[in-house]
């Protein structure tokens, strides 16, 4: 199905989250995310908190309804009492603050005179305190935009905030989190809903990502840049897919979400056209029917005190089998609401009931509940509270079908590029001031003072590499986005007599060849090793043809310096007289050999240590003299 984005009133904005490698935002812990040595774990609960008017925020309350235990794992150097909500926050990380402000300036955004750090209520356990600290550091104006092939995408706001803990796993009502990511600074940049289609989502995300990575303080690697995708169609409800990490497939997840919206709107129209104006759905306790069931699944649960609740969804037969988008049925979508209350899922008549051995019981249910042929029956078997809350959630969601698309925060599945219900979209009143941190006044002249540290953008670097360093277009863009960029720049500045092309080629081609073809662990080489090596290249002691050989030796013998390797392993280029001696010896060993063959043999013997073009001339000279 091709989507006509214009026709469906597609509205989309992005929020890009980029992690910074400056150390954590409000403590002195490392932002390295190594998670190597665990030193402690702590167990906590979170409680519903009253919001601004004494009501409990929708999402906050919802999370608390699930009686969950949170277990936080702390790793050496990467967690302290601040991360454990056992010490007040320290002053804001100056380096992170400066990076965020420079980025705002790069995008022509307005920086407030006073920045306030706020607490944003988060009760899914990802923050030990129950809130995330965040500060609005810039707002957009008519000059803050990025220029894309499909027009301007305006930038609306930028915040500097703490990253949340990363979920490590769930078992029953326990959720495990690692504290290493909690508190790492994130720059969050929100665009206006100016994005035109799914391709445009990708282009916009890529451009912003590239600008962000112009800053050496940004973290690299999987998960260090994440996109929240906000989507609505036909001026309908907005959904937010939170934390997409795969730029190459951002188009697919966008398309799938649009398809889901369209499916839900279609379903609404379909029910309306059937004349259904209100869905009267109620749960019924039908445990009695299942007491002697032959179904292993259900009888096991009943033995563990589960009850069985059933409900009839009128006119829904077949609907749960339909795909809301590729790789996802509406049945699975509904089940997610049940699961979010701790249930393992539900069983319904759109499924093959024989696989559960439940055909008989469902026949009884049909009579008991007076279900019509085009009705759907579903059951949930869990302990009382979970069963009740889960089936209520499913019923509530089903009733919402008549309203269309619910406003939700959704979590993505990176494998199928679909998304699942996470929680209702949270409101603005989840924020209140973080009184433990002083407000940040932007002193007069401060912004001018830091402006001199504005990094060159990657785009400007790329074109400079082409112009000044004479790299071809492909090599220039590859080295610009490679993580060797800063090493490349250091080396080209330091060793001006070495061809920049050779340096770029070394990082882009030589190293990856060694890694791919010979499985050499190039990560063991440090920037100092490269400097040491290129110093020899610069001095003419190492030719580019012997570099691979050099690297292999260096990996085996990390204790040797470059000049030692060259001396010990005879890698230094030969002088003309040394080359002549070797050629003389070849001629002497192979008398009456044609000149071509002599050149061939000399080439292989002298390879890498003497200029190839000169070999033929030398051989010619020697032979003609004889």
């Amino acid at each position: 199905m091709d989507i006509d984005y214009k026709a469906i009133g597609f509205k989309c904005g992005l929020e890009i989250h980029q992690a910074l490698d400056t150390g954590k935002l409000f403590c002195s812990c490392s932002s390295a995310l190594n998670e190597k040595i665990e030193f402690t774990e702590i167990k906590r609960h979170l409680r519903p908190v009253a919001g601004e008017t004494g009501t409990v925020d929708a999402s906050a309350l919802f999370e608390s309804l699930r009686k969950r235990n949170f277990i936080y794992h702390a790793y050496k150097d990467e967690a302290c009492l601040v991360d454990m909500d056992a010490e007040p926050p320290h002053d804001i990380n100056e380096k992170a603050k400066k990076t965020a402000l420079l980025f705002a300036m790069l995008l022509n955004m307005d920086i407030p005179d006073v920045i306030h750090v706020m607490r944003k209520t988060v009760t899914d356990g990802s923050a030990t305190s129950g809130f995330q600290r965040t500060a609005l550091v810039a707002t957009g104006n008519e000059t803050s935009y990025i220029d894309t092939t499909q027009g301007k995408v305006y930038l609306e706001n930028m915040s500097l905030e703490e990253d949340a803990s990363k979920i490590m796993g769930k078992e029953g009502n326990k959720t495990h989190y690692s504290l290493s990511r909690l508190g790492i600074p994130l720059i969050e940049l929100g665009t206006a809903p100016d994005i035109k289609d799914a391709d445009h989502v990708k282009e916009t995300a890529a451009m912003i990502g590239s600008l962000l990575r112009s800053f050496p303080e940004t973290k690299r690697g999987i998960g260090t840049i994440r996109q929240d995708i906000n989507i609505s169609v036909f001026d309908g409800a907005r959904t937010e897919i939170k934390g997409w990490q795969d730029l190459s497939r951002i188009k697919l997840i966008t398309e799938n979400e649009v398809k889901r919206h369209l499916f839900l709107l279609g379903l609404k129209t379909e029910l309306e056209s059937k004349g259904i104006k209100k869905l009267d759905i109620k749960p019924v306790d039908v445990t009695d029917i299942f007491v002697h069931t032959k179904s292993r699944v259900i009888s096991d649960l009943i033995r563990q005190n589960a009850i069985v609740l059933a409900t009839v969804l009128p006119g829904f037969k077949g609907i749960l089998q339909r795909e809301v988008c590729p790789k996802k049925t509406f049945g699975r979508e509904l089940a997610e609401y049940a699961k979010s209350f701790g249930s393992n899922g539900m069983i319904h008549t759109d499924e093959d009931l024989s696989k559960y051995n439940l055909a008989h019981e469902f026949n009884l249910l049909k009579k008991l509940l007076n279900a019509q042929p085009d009705d759907l029956i579903l059951i949930i078997a869990e302990t009382k509270t979970i069963a009740e809350q889960s089936i209520d959630a499913v019923i509530m969601r089903t009733k919402y079908v008549l309203k269309g698309v619910p406003e939700e925060t959704r979590i993505p599945n990176h494998v199928t590029a679909t998304s699942s219900y996470a929680r209702p979209l949270s409101g603005a009143h989840r924020m209140y001031p973080e009184t433990d941190v002083k407000t940040i006044c932007i002193a007069p002249g401060y912004l001018d003072r830091i402006r001199k540290d504005m990094p060159e953008t990657l785009e400007s670097k790329r074109s400079r590499f082409e112009k000044e360093l004479k790299l071809n277009a492909e090599l220039a863009s590859t080295i610009t986005i490679s993580h060797y960029l800063s090493t490349f720049e250091t080396l080209t500045k330091k060793y001006k007599n070495v061809d920049a092309k050779d340096i770029a080629n070394f990082f882009i081609n030589t190293l990856s060849d060694l890694k791919k073809r010979e499985s050499i662990d190039i990560s063991r080489l440090s920037e100092t090793d490269y400097e040491d090596m290129f110093a020899q290249v610069s001095d003419g002691r190492l030719l580019k043809d012997t570099i691979s050989q050099f690297v292999k030796i260096k990996i085996k013998h990390p204790e040797l310096f470059a000049d030692e390797i060259i001396t010990n392993y005879n890698l230094a280029p030969l002088t003309e007289s040394e080359a002549k001696n070797i050629i003389d010896a070849i001629i002497a060993e192979n008398p009456n050999t044609p000149i071509g063959a002599v050149i061939g043999m000399s080439m292989s013997k002298l390879k890498g240590r003497f200029d190839g073009k000169k070999i033929a001339i030398l051989v010619g000279n020697i032979l003609s003299r004889k």
Binding site: T40, I42, K43, R44, H45, L46, R47, P48, V49, A50, G51, E52, T53, G54, T55, V56, A58, A60, L61, F62, L81, D85, A86, E87, P88, D110, P112, D113, V114, I115, H116, M118, R119, K120, V122, T128, S129, G130, F131, T134, L136, S159, A393, M396, Y400, P406, E407, P424, L425, G427, A428, H429, R430, M431, Y432, P433, E434, T435, T439, C441
Partner: protein, 456 residues
Amino acid sequence: MYLKKIKDTLETKKISVGTRLEVTRENKKIEGILLPNADDSAKDIITLKLDSGYNIGIKIRENTIINKSKNNTADDLISEENYEFGKKRDIKSLVFDKKKPKASLIATGGTISSRVDYKTGAVTMLMEPQEILTTTPELKDIINLTSILSPFRIASEDMTPSEWQNIAELVANELNSGAVGVIVTHGTDTLHYTAAALSFMLPGLKKPVALVGAQRSPDRASFDGAMNLICASRYITGNIAEVAIVMHATMNDDYCLINRGTKVRKMHTSRRDAFRPINTLPIGAIYTCGKLDIIDDNYKRRDNKEKTVADTRFDKKIAMINIYPGINPEILDWHIDKGYKGIVLNTTALGHVPIDTIDKNLSWEKVLARATDKGITIISASQTLYGTTHAHVYRSAVKMDKLGVIFAKDMLPETAYVKLGCVLGRTKDKAEIRELMLTNLAGEFSEKLVPKSFLY
């Protein structure tokens, strides 16, 4: 306070805190609700809450125009209730169950009974007693809180012996009016002083009294006071008739320790498990479900027939002096001259003050003699906290002992300070003072020190 010019503008345009504004500067318009200024010193800054929920400060310059917003619906950002899951919680619907044991709560202030104004971030005290239920609704499943008293609301660093006396009287009253026990909520800074004070001022106590604080405020989802309150309500329905601090045992939200009021101290500025037993084991560990593990069964048992009598006599002319290298004895001279009746010296290790200093002017020998001659009670309590004092191991202690200094054994300096005030309030007789100070009145001495009691 704003600059006069800004103040005038706001007044003329009838703009006050809570008004929705439109601030225009260089063609850029910002809308938001006016908040009180976070920083009093910045007189040319106004603070706005934007619709996104963020606050920002805006400097008012020559070309800045402030106006009331046309969309002046003061609280429009609050009213949203965009999904059925977000049901309002009604404070009135939270009522106690009359069948549960009758209990009382005395709220004195501190983090545990504070609330945040979500707009301004200002922390204020809970105003309605029922509000305790909004933070900890679980209490209604355990106790019937019939009486919630709030004699004052102050931070615990602002407590004085007068407040201890006030609380002690109230506790006795509540216990004599049929409460099974009393919970006292209190700031944590000086919670252990108040715990010691209640221990001494309620001498014949036969019902449980729990002191509870919080290290994280109730506006956070990580509010630690809730578990403390739940465990405390379990404690007061139980059989242990002691004044105890009931707070987190570990960094985890798993159970609380019941720590005797005279042998407990705040040992960390910010951790939940800051209150530790010193020179003793906790009486027990108590869980939110009511499970109780007794660790030291040397405690008084409940007897509901006994009346509680508060003896709040207290001599406030007492002081506590921390001893350190180089401390000048004139500090004590000053106290003598000012008419102090008793001094607790937070002495080093086994109970020493400088005696045989090279610079004789820094020796405390003479000043101690002068103090005891004047009839001032001098207590030596160890600043080392763990272990006991001893009057005979080292020379300086022997001299102090001869001069009449009373060695407080393993009693905490803070407990010694509170006890000294109580004892001096009860008697002026020197021999009796000494005897009372060395008698175990409220579990302030351990008969023996077991290895596990160190750094528990």
